[in-house]
Every structure is written in C-alpha cells, then in structure tokens.
C-alpha cells in the first residue's frame, strides 16, 4: 500500500469548484512534482492535504490512517509537514527555536515541567537542542543557530523552513514553491538539499514549483493541474511532451 493515497479529492468555495477529482499516490522515499499554471489549484490541494481546508469530496489516507478533513494538528501528528510559498518563519524567534518549535508534538512535556524547570524539562530540552542542531547542521546553518530568523538571507530562510518542517519527523514533506525567488546558484544548491533530504530522512516529498528545469530535473513523477483538474500524470519526459500540458502553459498564464 502506498504511503499517501488520495482519491477523488475536491473542494468548492461557494459555487466555485476549485479542485475536483484530484488523485495522487505517493510512495516513501520518492520525489513527486505538482505543477500547473497559476490558479490551477496546487496550493489549494496542499491546503487540503494539511488540513487547512476541509475537502468537499474525496478521501486522503496517510499510511493507513484516514486524515480527510482532520485538523492540522492531527495531520501534523500523523506525519505530514509543509513549507509555504511565501516563507512563513517565526520571525521574532531564534533559528534554533524555530526548529525546536517544529518538534512541538514529537518531544513533549507539560507546562508545569517548564514552570518548575525539573529534570524532565532539562532532559527534553537537551534532547531538542541536540536534534535541532543536528538538523541545522545538515543544512549548513548550524553556525547561525542564535540568529533571529529574520536576519537570515533569503536562501537560508527557505532552508530553515524545511528544517522546521523536518523537525516534526514527517513521513511526507510538502514543499510549496521552494525555489521561488532564488537565484540560479541557490536553486542548484536547493536541488541538492532536496535530494539529500529524501535520501537521508527516507521520506516522500511532494513539491509545487514553477521552475520547470528544477521540477524536471528532480522529480520522478509529475502531476499537472489545470483549472482544478488533473490533465496529465507521469514521468518528467512524458509530461513535458504532453500536448495538453504544453497548451495549458502556453495558452494560460506564463510563468
């Protein structure tokens, strides 16, 4: 059985059917792409997968657990983490704390342990510090652990956001336009990072991206959305030669 199975997923806002008949099957340890012109419903699909939106139709099953319409808290615990198109870091917090807050439901202790600073508190905090520093080290930003998150350069903010998502030990990582706003060098570096994450953490990654070179170069399977419907699905080679995909891009909004 696949790690994530999405069947006939759809959502409508008022009379507008934003996404319909969305299907997806994801296996552990692989890289998937979700592409489509602007407004195709890619981010909406992400929002349904992470519980931000409640789908109107369909089913989402993660590792045998039905997560359809569950709360973001439930889904995060079940094992889906995400990053955002417009980076959403906790800007006032340190880089280290950003990662530690990502472990919110993985390393836990009650409020009172924190108030009385007892052994449990110290033990769990040490555990979190270690795990967070190791994660930051993987992304090469461990030396900036004490920076306030907003002080990081753009590329490293992207990395930190991925770090924070990984801190929750996800089975599936959703990246929403990870290369947006990056220069070619940063994009190249990001490609290595994403591959490394997949291999080192052995998780599945699903990413939305407009940078076609990036998507084609890294993803093993690509799903193409247009007006909320899947118009193509397959390996990069077949998708990029699909006349419907080419029409969707050239006929629609260029990006």
């Amino acid at each position: 059985m696949a790690l994530l199975e999405v069947t006939n997923l759809g959502i409508s806002f008022g009379g507008l059917q934003a996404v319909s008949g969305f299907e997806l099957e994801i296996e552990s340890g692989h890289l998937y792409g979700l592409i489509g012109p602007n407004g195709a419903g890619k981010t909406t699909a992400f929002n349904m997968l992470t519980g931000m939106y409640v789908p109107s139709q369909g089913n989402i099953v993660l590792d045998g657990v039905d997560i359809t319409g569950k709360s973001p808290e439930f889904i995060s615990k079940a094992g889906i983490a995400r990053t955002f198109q417009n980076i959403r870091l906790f800007k006032g917090m340190s880089v280290l704390d950003n990662v530690k807050v990502g472990m919110h439901n993985r390393v836990t202790y009650s409020m009172w342990h924190g108030i009385f600073r007892d052994g449990v508190f110290r033990d769990r905090e040490r555990q979190m510090d270690k795990k967070a520093m190791d994660l930051l080290d993987v992304f090469g930003i461990a030396d900036k652990a004490d920076y306030v998150a907003s002080q990081l350069p753009y590329g490293e903010q992207r990395k930190l956001e991925i770090c924070r998502a990984l801190a929750s030990d996800p089975k599936l990582l959703l990246l929403d336009e990870p290369a947006a706003g990056m220069n070619p060098n940063e994009t190249l570096e990001l490609r290595e990072t994403v591959r490394k994450v997949r291999d080192d953490f052995n998780i599945a990654i699903l990413l939305i991206e407009h940078d076609m070179k990036f998507v084609m170069g890294i993803c093993e399977e690509i799903t193409v959305l247009e007006y909320g419907k899947i118009i193509a699905h397959g390996d990069p080679e077949s998708v990029s030669n699909d006349p419907r995909v080419i029409a969707a891009y050239l006929g629609g909004d260029d990006d």
């Binding site: 889904i75 006032g92 280290l96 706003g181």
Partner: protein
Amino acid sequence: MAKKGGNNRKKSTRTYIFSFALILVFWAVVEILGHMNMLSSKMLGLLIPICAYAIMAVSLNLVVGFLGELSLGHAAFMLAGATAGVVFYNSAGLNMPQVLRVIITLVIGAAAAGLFGVIVGVPVLRFSGDYLAIVTLAFCQILKNVLSTTYLGVDSAGIHLAFDQGSFRLEPGAKPLIKGAQPISGINKISPDMMVSFTVGIVLLILTVAFVLNLMNSRAGRAITAIRDDEIAAKSIGINLTRYKLMAFISSAVFAGLAGVIYVLNLSTLDFKKYDYNLSINVLVMVVLGGMGNVPGSIIAAALLTFLPELLRNFSQYRMFIYSIVLIVIMLFNQAPAFVQLRQRLTAKIRGKNAQEPEGGEKADTEFFEAKKQGKEDE
C-alpha cells in the same frame, strides 16, 4: 555545536538575572531606607501599588507582548481577584491566623480571576482577530457595573445575595460584605508594618516574573511566541492555537487577581469604580513603554509610571502635561531609529565585538529577491 545552543540560553539567562536583580535591589534599597526611617508616608504608600502594577504589567505582557493579542480589560481580572479575596478576608477569614488568612485570600483572588479568564477566554480565543480587545473592554465595564449593584451579606440565616437594595435585608448586627455602589471599607492591612506588606508584594512579583520567564522559555512559551509570529505556520506544525492562547490568557488573569488582592489589602477600601477602562489602559501603557515581551522593561515602566504622578503632585497644574511629555520621550527612546541605533552601538561596545551582524551584501540580495517574490505572490 553544543556551545551555540548554549549561547541561545545565555541571552535568556541575562533576562533572568537582570529581572531578579532589579527586583531584589529595589527591595533592598527600600528596606534599608525604611529601617532608617527615610521614607515619607507618601513613599511608603506607593510601595505596594508599585508591586501590584508591576505584577499587572508583567502578566499583561504575557498576552499583549508574548501572545500578540490585545486585551483592554486587564483591570477586570484585578477587580475580580480583589473582590473575591476581600469577601473571604472580611468573612470566613476573620478568625484565622493572619498568615493563613492572607495566603487563602491570595489563592481565592487568583482563582476567581482565573475563572473569569476562562469565562472570557474560552469563547473569544477560539477566533483569530481583534475580538479579544472588544470583549475584554466590554467585560471590564460589565463586571464593574454588576458589582456596583450587588448586595452580599451573611447572617445566621445564611448567605444573602441581591441586586437591588430593597430586597436585601440582613439580621440586625450582621455586617454586609458588598453594599452596592458603596466602596467596601475597613479592610485590615496585611500587616501593620508596611515593610512586611511590601515584602509580600515583592515575593508575589518574583513569583509572577519567575512564572512568566519560565513559561516563555519552555515548550509552551515557544508555541505561544510561534502563534504571535505566524498563526498559519503555527497551525501547520501542529500547535493547538486555542489551547496555548488560553494558557497565556488565563495565566495572565490569575496574576492580575493576585495583584488585585495585595493592592486592595493595602488600600483598605475597595471602590469598584476605580477598576475601569482607564486602569486597563494605564497598565497597557506600561507594557508598551517597557517593551512588548520585555519583562524587566514592564517592571521598570510600572514603577516609573506609578511613581511619576505622585512626584508631580506638587505641580498639579502641569502634572498631566509633564506626564505625557515623559511618555513621548520614553516612546521615542525605545522606538525611534536614531535612538535604537545609538542603543545598539552602546550595547555592542559594552559587549565587545562578539555581536555578529549579517553581511550587508547578502542582505541587499535578499531584499532584491524578496521584492521580486512579492510581485509573484498571487495564488
């Protein structure tokens, strides 16, 4: 690597040391001056209010500074704590040893305020937005007005509660506890020795500061700060927004209740009318002046703004004028870019050259792409 993690903690350690040193030095100076009889009765009268307002400001900072929600009714929780505390203090507490009586009064005051925190917080904090400001503002007025029409007393027949004077009758000789709009008077002080009462106030302030700092430097505190910085991201990493908003709000109410109890036990009268919008705003001003999320700042601002109006009493004509000028100057000092730079340069000098700055070139790059990305954000 481990060393870097330690650095992070060093910063919070500095806040701890500074906060507690500040309180202890204040306490020691007052104790010394007090024993040398160098404090005027006016100054003595300000000691407990300073402690009470410092507790108010630090606890409100938990909601406004750390959680990022605006509360305009902090005085209501002070009033709830004070009233519940005094009702016990003047009835069942009368025959107890004073130490026990004060402790139970504090617990009851804190519990009552916490209960109202639950009543206000549970329905309101489930939503995101500015609802809390409106509801707390209204709640403050409602509580004050309801108490002003409440009549409460105990006699051999039991407890009597009424909301109009006509139907409120007690046996002759029984003393009413709440007499409508009339202030409750004749509340015994914690101790005839002002220095003892003051020490109680300082202990409560230390408890408040320890609670707030420990909370904010733990898992729960990180969740609270995360909610302030970005609710959507906080939700996506599995933080239960309502739970942590309530945690901050109710804790804040509990400490306001404690502040209410010591404030009113010191004043010996409880006048409901005083706990209104103005008091809430005063505390809010202390939080803003001291700095959002800055605990020692709240304490300093509370002490200063409690002390200042008294100091200016001799210039009563210009009092509000000078008060507002001081407010503006402090605000400028805290926020104006030129002053902020000056302060940063000073702290950098004091700390030596360890303070790292992000490289300028890279930052310009970032801004360029940030702008570019902003233009692209559309979906």
